[in-house]
Assembly symmetry: C2
Homo-oligomer: 395 residues x 2
Amino acid sequence: MSKIPAYLSGLVGKSVHDIDTPALVIDLDAMKRNLGRMAAFAKKHGIRWRPHAKLHKSVQLAKMQVKAGAVGVCVQKTAEAEIMVAGGVHNVYLSNQVIAPSKLARVAALTQAVAPHGGQLAIAVDSIEGIVRLAQAMTQARTRPGLPGLATVIDVFVEIDVGQGRCGVQPGQAVTLALEISKHPALRFAGMQAYHGKAQHLRSVGERRQAIASAVQAVLAARQQIEAQGMAPGLVTGAGTGTFALETASGVYGELQTGSFLFMDADYAHNERDPVQPHFEHALFVKAQVISAQASHAVCDAGHKSLAIDSGMPQVHSLGGAGGLDYFNGGDEHGILRPAADGKHLPELGQPVWLIPGHCDPTVNLHDAMIGVSGGLLRGTVERIIRVDARGAMT
Amino acid sequence: MSKIPAYLSGLVGKSVHDIDTPALVIDLDAMKRNLGRMAAFAKKHGIRWRPHAKLHKSVQLAKMQVKAGAVGVCVQKTAEAEIMVAGGVHNVYLSNQVIAPSKLARVAALTQAVAPHGGQLAIAVDSIEGIVRLAQAMTQARTRPGLPGLATVIDVFVEIDVGQGRCGVQPGQAVTLALEISKHPALRFAGMQAYHGKAQHLRSVGERRQAIASAVQAVLAARQQIEAQGMAPGLVTGAGTGTFALETASGVYGELQTGSFLFMDADYAHNERDPVQPHFEHALFVKAQVISAQASHAVCDAGHKSLAIDSGMPQVHSLGGAGGLDYFNGGDEHGILRPAADGKHLPELGQPVWLIPGHCDPTVNLHDAMIGVSGGLLRGTVERIIRVDARGAMT
């Protein structure tokens, strides 16, 4: 688990101007408004909400989300689950495939760790082999030295592919896996994971509606086959920041995994806004500084070692009139700034530049900590340093 | 500075098969051969060689390079310089622009830290303002409480733009900056930084030769103007893994900054090989595992949170016949594998997959440590864990 460097912890109480660059900064006021809107949406529609902690990888933010009404968190890696549980978050869904016996032993140990706190572990599967290995690990954990020896049960979601084309069985195979799960006493069939990742980033409202309508049909077909076996269909979990109002409206999904709404990256902001969804504000920024000023361009000190470019370049935030600039790839440690079409002047040497990352999740993963500012980015104050507890926790 | 997680340090002496995934693995035998070839090249041509530590961010590997003949290391960030100096590497060139007074104070402090060890700090500049600020920081450091109060001098290279289009003044402006440097007693004009980053990745030998020929002309023009002022022209530093034999052959460059040759990423391997350059082998890999096996594709557990994709997707290593696969972007935590044109079968659930990263530098920066294996990736043994000391050191 990463430590907070001294130069960051010393910033608390200081001005936003004192933040050295490049640095990952949260506009806490905007983040809290985003959180309030998501929590209100879930409450209004009576739907469970389990935000994905792969976004922030922070125990502190996970607990803040649980306090706001989340039932727990999703994670993508066994190591992330361990960090959340160690930090006191006891309802954790590992929404991914885990195949290595060494990792499954760690997952089984976590079920024992959360049980005394009334917590519950859940996991996704998409193969018979994965189910059998998980059951073995759960059985072995009951008698493994060093563990409490509890007769714990893990919730198991069958992942179906609803259009993402990545993990997940075809919907028609879900019933086979559900039946296999039901054979193992330490496993409890909990429902289906039906996350349509690709649909999140379809630009038009029409395309997203069509994609989720198709996902809902796939879920319904799989559910019918499961019910035909006399099994309870369980919960359907999925949905992201781009489409969650659609999954909610379907009446078929029972749990939303939305994570990115908290920070809202540039990529999500490129989506045509669906009026049925709440509005979310940009709340995560990389503060950079101009370190070279040339006739045709300026260069800032944030490249792709401080912000992720897998979903496109960052946008230059128009803070205090500093906008009107386009960011071009300058390599690992540099960003190249040129006037955008609307023709602003180039920024001066030493001037701060605020960047809206193209993709929040992998950007956060590059940093040891996030600097929480209240009172706005122009005149605000550093309120707290939020550690990225699970940065680099990839196994 | 990042700590080595216990699950990694416990691997020493174990088999390569025991490495949990995803993990960053160095083939130590291949790395040592690469190092030997680079050191032999520099020795044969009587040229200084100062490898860029932004690649590995490791004190241990920096020291290994110095032992092999390097004069020190280059770094790109003040925080990287601090970590190298704290680790005992005392000849450090910060080959980048530093503008913030808070950072320049740290640079000046480093000049005091290395002096008792006979070390020397160097830095690049590309503005009068940058030179004046650096001189102020150097003067202030001489009387700053807590520092030894030595009358240290910093070597200053004027960065000229030889085709990269990023930092650096136009060659004709170099003389103005050189004259400004010479006014400040704590600064010593050391020569020119003339790195052509874009030339490294031009695919054909012809294009690379043309680009470096043009860079050499720019350097010569700038040098002539500096000499016309009665100043010693100093050293010309630059060159990367794609072109260094060309800069060497020019007779104009006196120092090579090559870093990537140590690991050789997939992007550099796409270059047409120039017969004047030594051959380098892939020595850095991400070990991944198949976690989902579908009819049309398999999914492994390494996405762009464990390998950088800014220079393209990783290649699947044809280790033990496991090749014949193409890697497609599966998001932050997944890679999608499909049979390549030559039609191999898909790998099975649980099977290891070795990936050659598209770009080594930002891939290393995602990991806390590199796992050094000797005896090959098929049957080798973990020899040592190499900490990525400066991971995330970005200020």
